[in-house]
Structure formats: C-alpha cells, structure tokens
C-alpha cells in the first residue's frame, strides 16, 4: 500500500464521502476500487477512505438516483461494477460543492482571522 503511515492520514468528515465520490465520477465511470484509489490519490494520499464504507455510500447514492451502475470489465480484464454520474448527480455535486466551499471559508475565517485582515 502507500508509503505514508496510515495513522497520520485524515479521516473523512461525515457526509463528505458522498460528495467526493460524485466528484470523482465527473471524469467518467469508475468501479469501486478505482473510486477509492482516485480519492486517495487526488488528495495526495492525505485522505483515508475505508473501502468497506465506500460500498454502502455507493448504494445510497444509487438509490437516490445520483449515480447509475452497470457491470463492465476493468482495464486489467476483471469484471466489476462501474458507477457513473447521472444528471441529478451532477446537480447534487454542484450543490454540495457550493455548500462545502461556503462552510470551508467560514470555518477558515474563524480559525485563521488574520488572513482576512
């Protein structure tokens, strides 16, 4: 696995996993393992995705109609379920992103007021 010690990684804040999954799928359909990997890589290995928690999240998103799913073959010829973003999912992503950015800015202001000034 990765070289970094796992204990130093950040645990995901509750509710953010869904947003990150949706964000990852913006580049095209992907299977579960690929999504987990992509999140870790694009966070430069900072974020820890517990792979087991990923699947309930995927199922939740699927039930809400934000992602769709079908069986396909991976690059190394393994059968896997591929998830892709739906139109509703795209909208949801925009919503969540905006919300998250506002939240992050607000929290940033509180934690680091000097920067603002």
């Amino acid at each position: 696995m990765s070289t970094q010690d796992e204990k130093e990684r950040l645990e995901l804040l509750q509710g953010t996993l869904d947003m990150l999954i949706l964000r990852t799928l913006i580049f095209g359909s992907q299977h579960g393992q690929g999504i987990a990997r992509a999140i870790q890589q694009s966070s430069e290995e900072e974020l820890l995705v517990e792979h087991g928690a990923l699947y309930p999240a995927l199922r939740r998103l699927e039930e809400r109609g934000w992602i769709s799913v079908k069986w396909g073959t991976s690059s190394n010829n393994r059968k896997a379920r591929f998830y892709s973003l739906t139109a509703a999912g795209r909208k949801q992503l925009v919503k969540e992103t905006t919300k998250w950015k506002r939240l992050a800015t607000a929290i940033g202001r509180i934690l680091d007021p000097a920067k603002e000034g």
Binding site: M1, Q33, G34, R37, H51, G52, Y55, E63, R78, A80
Partner: protein, 890 residues
C-alpha cells in the same frame, strides 16, 4: 411487490472484485501475493459487517423475519394441538357465522339493486296524512301529470294481480304485474329472449303482449326456444308472448309475491276494460316507481314534486279536499325493497359480531394463559438479544396465523353448508337470489380474521413487552408465573366477555318474549283444523265474455262449491270468502290487489262527507263466522235474503263500530264506498274483534260484506274438520268438475298461515337465541378458565389455609367470591349496554317494553348462575387440595 433491489450474492461478488483489483495494484507496487491480499482486506475493513449491513438495510428483511415468525408460529401451534384446536374452532365459529350473516347483509343492503343506474330509481308513495291513510296509490291523470312534470325520465304504475294462465299444460295461477309500457326501459333491463314493451305505446286498453319470467318459461313451457309470438290465455284473453326475462330478474317489490312476478302485461291505464277517461280522484293505480332525470337528487326532485302537488291541488280543489292533505313521497327504490328488513339484519350482524368478539376474548384469555407458560421462552429470547418489537411481532404473527386458520376453516364450513343454510332463510327476505359468497364477502372474512387476530393477540403481545427478565429467568420451573398485571388483564377480559354476553342475551330474551307473546296472543278466532284452498275466477277484459261478471252470475258457482265441499270426507263446515278474508295471510298483506283489501268509505250523514276513511274489508259467505268461531255480538249475520237484488248489508267488527259510532247503536247505520254512484251499505251485525289482520295488532277496524252481493274473483274455500292430506286434491277435482278452466292452489292450514306470518320474526329470534347461547357458553368457559387458573395459582396458599384449619366452606366462598365478583362487574357493564341496545331494537319488539324488568332480571340471573357453576368446579378442586402436597409444591 417486495422485489429485492440487489441480491446479496451480487454484492459479495462486487466486494470480491474490489479486493482483487486492490491486491493486483498492490502487487504491481511490489508486494507479495499474500501481503497484497492481506493489505487489501485490511484497508477494506470488516467484510462480513459490510455484507450484513447491506443485507439488513434491504427492505427484504421484514419479509424474512415474517417468514421466520410464520414458520416458528406454525411449529408452536403444532406443538400444542389441544390449544390450537380450541382456538381454531372458536375462531372458525365466529368468522363463519359472521361471514354468513354478512353475505346476507352484503347482498341485500350493500349491493345496489340489479337495474341500470339504480341510484336514480325511486318509489312514489301517495299519502293522505289528513285522514291517516298512507300509500293509497295514484290516479291515471296524476300519473300523466308526473310523466310530463320534467322531474322523471319515466314513471310506471304497477298493479299486482293473479290470473289464470291457460295455453300451457294445465291451468295455473300466475302472478302478474300490470305496468306501463315504459316499465322495462325505466328499470334499464332487457329480456334474455325477444323484446320488451314499446315504451312509446300509449294506445288505449291493454297492450296484448306479455313478457314472462324465466321460471315460468321453464316450468310451464319447458324452456321452449320458439316461445316468442306464441299465444297464451290470461283468464280468457289472448296475449302474445314477446319476451322472456333473464333468470334472477326480480321485480322491485316489497313482498315476495310482488317480487316474484311471472307475467308482465302493459297498459296506459285507460280505455276498456278501464274507463276511457279515468277520473282524477280514483286512485286505482296502487303503486308506482320512477326514474329521476339524470343529475337530479331525490331531495331536489322531492321539492319540485311538492310544488307540482301544490299547484295540482289548487287547480282541482274538488278532487283534492284540503283535509286529506295529499302528498307524494319519493323513496329510494332500494329503501322500499329492503327497508323493512334492515333493522333485523343489522341486529343480526351486530349479534354475530358480538359472538365473534366474545370468541376473540376467549382466545385472548387462552393465549394469555399460554403466554405465562411461555414467559420463560420469551425471557430467554430477550436475554439473547431479541428486540421488543421482534417478540411482539412474533406473538402477533402467531395470533393472526391462528385466526387466519380459523377463518379459513370457518369459510370452508360455510361453503359446504351454504345450500343448507340458504334453505333456512325465510323466503320473504328480499334479494334472496343475490346472496352469494362473493369477493366482497371473502375480503370481509379475511379482514375480520385479521382484525380478530390482532384483537386477541394484542393483550398477550403487549404483555410480552413488559416481561421482567430477572424475575422470569430466576424462576426455576416453567410453570405458573403469571404476574399480577397479567391476572388483571385476564379479569378485564372476563368482565368484557360477561358484559357482551349479557347484552346479547338480553336482546335474545326480549325477542323471545315478543315471539312468545305473539304465539300465545288470543287470536279471537279458532285456527284449529281449518284449511284454506284458493281458486280464482277468470276476469276477462271484455265484460261480455265474463261468465262470472255479476254476483248473480257467480252465485250458482259459489253454492255448488259449498255443497260439493260439504260432501268431502271429514269435512264438517265449509265457507267461502275472497282472499282478503284469509286470516293472517301474510302473502297478500300489503299487496294492492285490484278492488280488494282496502276500502275508502263515506259514512252517511257525516258532516265531513268528503273525508273518506280507509278500512280493511273482505267479502265472505254467511258460514265464515261460525267456521272461524268469531262470535256475533249484536244484530244478525248474512242470510239467504241478502242477495244481489236486496240492499247491500255488512257485518262490522266491534273495533269498527266503536271507532265510527262510539256510544251509539251501530245497527242500521249506513256507509258507502267513496264513489258517488256506489250504493249505501247497511250495518246489520257486529262481531267480536279477531286478529285476522295482524297478530301484533288488536282491534283493527274491519268490515265484512256478503260475497253473494259483492262477488269476488280471488276466492278462498275454507274447510273445517278432520281433514286428510288428500283434501286439497279432492277440492281441486270438485272445483274443476264445476269449471275445468279454474286453477286450484295447494291447501294451507290456518296453523301454517299463522306460523308463516311469523316466519321472519322466528328467523331472527332463532338466530339471535343461537348466538346468545354460544355467547353464554363462551363466557362460561372464559370464567371457568380464569377461576381454575386462579385456583391452581393459589394452590400453595390454599394448602396453607387448610393446614391452618380454614373451613372448607370459607375456601369455597373465597373462590366463588372471586368469580362472582368478575361476573357481577361484567353484568353491571352489560346492563348499561343492554339498555342502549334494547332501545335501538324497540321496533322489533311486541308486547314487552325495551326495559322489561322480567327479561333483564331473568337473563342476568341466568348468566350469574352459569358463572356460579363455572366457578364451582374449580372451587371443588380447591377443596381437594392436600395441604402436604401443596406445601411441598414449591
């Protein structure tokens, strides 16, 4: 319905794919195969948990639990066959009986009448409330006014008659309904063969076409497919058959006779044999039905009709005297067909529902008793982590399962006994043919079973929630561990049971007393050894063809029949009368026969001369009074001099004399039919009152005319003596040897007539009594169960008491006090309920007040007696408790 969104196996294969992808990646990064797999697994977390989580969150889980509960429940029920049998039997009885009664209610009260757009159909009732006359019928001009009023799509008068049908195998008396040509269009029904009348046919006289019923077609014509255009003779007139109505088509009448019509004839009610211009004040059309214009409610139609009636009264003041206050009432047609059985049916349904409820309470009690035996099982399951809800659900599943098995068993029995049961329903019940175990009825049974299962499963299930785990598990044995709370619930259940039973039993008791009073009412005439055989003289449309057109022409026939009747073996007395003179003849009661039954009369010298009164009348020969044992009080009976040439005379009953000439000598007084040209009729005799009109009513004013003076087409031949079974056939031979075209009915003894007049009351009384007995039995069993449970629970205590020298009597008293306490509490609640119910059923009672103290006291006593008996058995067992054994018991 409950499709699983994704299979669990699908999910595991996805996880498997994930793990493989991950480990391949790791291998590429230089880990060994084994390390790679382990790391992949580690970073995935708990696979099992994830799968389980997935599985549980599927909606399928509830279903899985349900199947588990069901299988478990079946196993539990199988393991206690005695309990299961009793519970299933109780429920089967309750559901079966309730469903049976509901199927009747469903067919008669709930289903719309089987005609096109039945909600627009109405009955028109003409009332003259000013003179206390109801449903007096309408005149032909009034009918025409209604037709043109714009309120109705169609209005059709209907007149019931009985005719002699010839042209088939042997002369038969058929029930015929004379209607307007628009009758079938009005009802929106079509014949199965041929066509209906032309609704636009307004020609004078009778349309010489008839439609016949399916029954008559099969019975008299052997279901001949070429029946159309055949001719039949009704009386002596020739009619062409143009259509056959479908099987199961019943005319919308109030009595079985009016519903069970065999021939329909049509007329516009004017032109020979009727007057060419029927007068407005002659109410010769006895009943009428109508179809409202589409979109018109009955209330709206009624207000427009009231306006029409008011304007007609203004226009024809001579025909509508103000005192009589003529009104026309609209009733939903269904109301007039089933209205008079509604109360009885609802009472029956209520009663059977109570039985079901009592059965439920009993099963609940059984379940509770078992619940305490199963307390340990429940406690262990709880301790192993079963949720409250899960246990409650388990218990509810079991009880619903039980009630569904019971309900199915009840339905099966009902299916098998359907024919038998239907034979016991009185024929007078409207829409008898419609009764069936339909989908609606099946749904009802299913629903009732489910509700019953929940009702009797709820108490034990709720109890399971409040189990004290520690207490339960500490108990060594598996036996009696009933908590105080449980005992309390069981007591409340027994009290409920007693209250419900008492309500039912008092209802039954009141009906029984009414029935008993009616059976033992002083009839005022002697019905022993009397038989009535009917015949009917032809009544052709052309008066010249009528062989019996006048009393003088009829007299020789009457004398001949009387003479021949007397020669028959065993016959002591013979009399003749019209059918209105048959005492308590329910079949023709309420029927508006042409020129028969009721009589509008005008008294001589009455200041309110234009205020006619309605009175029951019949025409008889002089022998009638002696044959029936009705004594003459004043004056004389008819004699040979009272013939068609002599002035008309009448014999009236005491009630009539008292009503019209109070404190005066009625002899020599005169009255006449309410028609200008009618002759005066002189009172020559007064006879005692007899309940020949109605068992329930005493002192109905009645007049008797001389059959030799009035003539009559529908005749009854009364015979008294030691009559052999062959008498009706012998009468037929004798009558047909005088005139071979005459139909003669089977004979009916007056005892049978009296009994038939009580058929409906007897039916509902018997049913309620049966239900009440069942309730009593169930309540007895219930209290027996609770008290014996209590005794076995207190064996230890009783043993100590006996060991300490308690008297046997005081032990018995203690047990009885417990039981009677419950019974008395139940009775007190029940008495309040019974007071309410008895008020509601006041209309069904005769001779007893709804609060009859005798019935209330007697029934309460009976119920308490049963309670004492049910407690006495366990009390005796308590006495046999051996103190040594009892003390060693724990």
């Amino acid at each position: 319905m409950f499709r699983r969104k994704r299979k669990a196996s699908d999910f595991s294969s996805e996880i498997e794919a994930h793990l493989q992808l991950e480990s391949e990646l790791l291998r590429e990064q230089g880990l060994t195969e084994e390390e790679a797999r382990a790391t992949a697994r580690r970073s995935f977390g708990n696979v099992m948990h994830s799968e389980e989580h997935f599985y549980e969150s599927a909606r399928w889980l509830g279903w899985d639990h349900f199947w588990q509960d069901l299988r478990y429940g079946l196993r539990v029920l199988r393991k206690a066959p005695g309990f299961t049998a009793i519970a299933v039997l109780t429920i089967a009885l309750g559901i079966g009986a309730t469903t049976a009664i509901f199927s009747v209610v469903d067919a008669t009260l709930l289903h719309p009448l089987p005609y096109g757009q039945p909600e627009q159909l109405v009955t028109l009732c003409d009332d003259l409330p000013g003179i206390g006359a109801h449903d007096v019928g309408m005149s032909q001009p009034e009918w025409q006014d209604l037709q043109r009023s714009g309120i109705f799509e169609h209005v059709s008068p209907a007149q019931f008659d009985e005719n002699n049908l010839t042209g088939s195998s042997r002369p038969a008396r058929v029930r015929i309904l004379i209607v307007a040509p628009n009758y079938f269009a009005l009802l929106g029904v079509k014949p199965q063969l041929g066509r209906a009348f032309d609704p636009e046919d307004h020609s004078p006289g009778l349309v010489l076409e008839v439609l016949i019923s399916d029954g008559l077609w099969k019975r008299a014509f052997g279901a001949d497919p070429n029946i159309l255009d055949k001719s039949v003779r009704l009386d002596t007139d020739l009619y062409r058959i143009v259509g056959v109505m479908p099987a199961g088509f019943d005319a919308p009448g109030r009595t079985p006779e009016e519903r069970n019509i065999e021939v329909w004839a049509a007329t516009s009610f004017y032109g020979a044999p009727m007057p060419d211009q029927p007068p407005r004040n002659r109410r010769s059309l006895p009943t009428a039905i109508g179809r409202l214009k589409p979109g018109l409610t009955i209330a709206a139609a009624q207000s427009r009709l009231d306006a029409l009636v008011a304007s007609l009264q203004k226009e024809f003041p001579g025909d509508y005297p103000r005192q009589s206050a003529w009104t026309v009432r609209l009733l939903p047609l269904k109301e007039s067909v089933v209205g008079n059985v509604r109360q009885s049916l609802i009472l029956l349904l209520g009663a059977v529902g109570l039985v079901l409820l009592i059965g439920c309470v009993n099963v609940a009690n059984l379940l509770l008793a078992r619940g305490s035996a199963r307390g340990r099982e429940m406690a262990i399951r709880r301790a192993l982590g079963a949720a409250h809800t899960r246990l409650t659900r388990q218990l509810l599943t079991e009880s619903v399962l039980l009630s569904l098995i019971g309900g199915t068993a009840g339905l099966l029995v009902l299916f098998c006994t359907k024919g038998f049961l239907l034979r016991h329903v009185p024929e007078s019940l409207p829409r008898l043919n419609d009764i069936s175990i339909s989908w609606g009825v099946l749904f009802f049974a299913l629903g009732a079973s489910l509700v019953a299962g929940v009702v009797f499963g709820l108490a034990p299930a709720l109890h399971a929630r409040r189990l004290d785990l520690n207490h339960m598990l500490k108990q060594e044995g598996r036996g009696t561990t009933g908590s105080g709370e449980q005992t309390r619930t069981r007591r409340i259940l027994v009290i409920t049971e007693f209250a419900l039973s008492l309500v039912l039993m008092i209802a039954a008791g009141l009906l029984l007393r009414s029935f008993w009073d009616l059976l033992n009412v002083r009839l005022g005439f002697n019905a022993q050894n009397v038989m009535a055989v009917r015949t009917r003289l032809p009544d052709p449309n052309d008066p010249k063809a009528d062989l019996y057109g006048s009393p003088a022409q009829e007299a020789p026939f009457l004398r001949e029949v009387l003479w021949r009747g007397r020669t028959l073996p065993g016959v002591e007395e013979v009399a003749l009368g019209d059918t209105a003179s048959i005492p308590l003849d329910e079949s023709l009661r309420n029927l508006k026969l042409i020129s028969e039954g009721q009589f509008l009369l005008t008294l001589e010298g009455d200041i309110q001369n234009d205020q006619p009164s309605v009175v029951e009348r019949s025409s008889v020969t002089p022998e009638y009074f002696h044959l029936l044992g009705i004594p003459l009080l004043r004056g004389r009976l008819f004699n040979d001099l009272d013939n068609d040439k002599a002035p008309q005379v009448t014999v009236v009953n005491e009630a009539f004399a008292r009503a019209y000439w109070p404190n005066e000598n009625p002899l020599g007084k005169r009255f006449k039919r309410n028609r200008a040209e009618a002759p005066w009729i002189t009172v020559v005799g007064v006879i005692a009152n007899a309940r020949t009109q109605s068992l329930a009513q005493d002192g109905v004013p009645q007049i008797y005319l001389d059959l030799y003076q009035t003539g009559g087409k529908r005749l009854a031949i009364f015979l008294r003596g030691q009559l052999a079974a062959a008498i009706p056939d012998q009468v037929r031979e004798q009558v047909q040897s005088v005139d071979p075209t005459l139909p003669v009915s089977v004979g009916q003894t007056l005892k049978e007539t009296v009994s038939a007049s009580l058929a409906e009351r007897r039916f509902s009384m018997e049913m309620i009594a049966l239900f009440a007995l069942t309730a009593l039995l169930l309540a007895g069993l219930g209290i027996y169960g609770v008290i014996s449970y209590m005794v076995s629970e207190r064996t230890h205590e009783i043993g100590i008491r006996i060991a300490l020298g308690a008297e046997r009597r005081s032990i018995v008293r203690m047990v009885l006090r417990q039981g009677l306490g419950l019974a008395i509490a139940g009775a007190a609640v029940g008495l309040i309920g019974a007071l309410i119910v008895s008020q509601l059923m006041a209309g069904l009672l005769y001779g007893v007040r709804p609060t009859d103290p005798m019935t209330f006291a007697g029934v309460t006593g009976l119920l308490l007696g049963v309670a004492v008996l049910a407690c006495y058995l366990p009390a005796r067992r308590a006495l046999r408790v051996d103190p040594l054994v009892a003390l060693r018991h724990e």
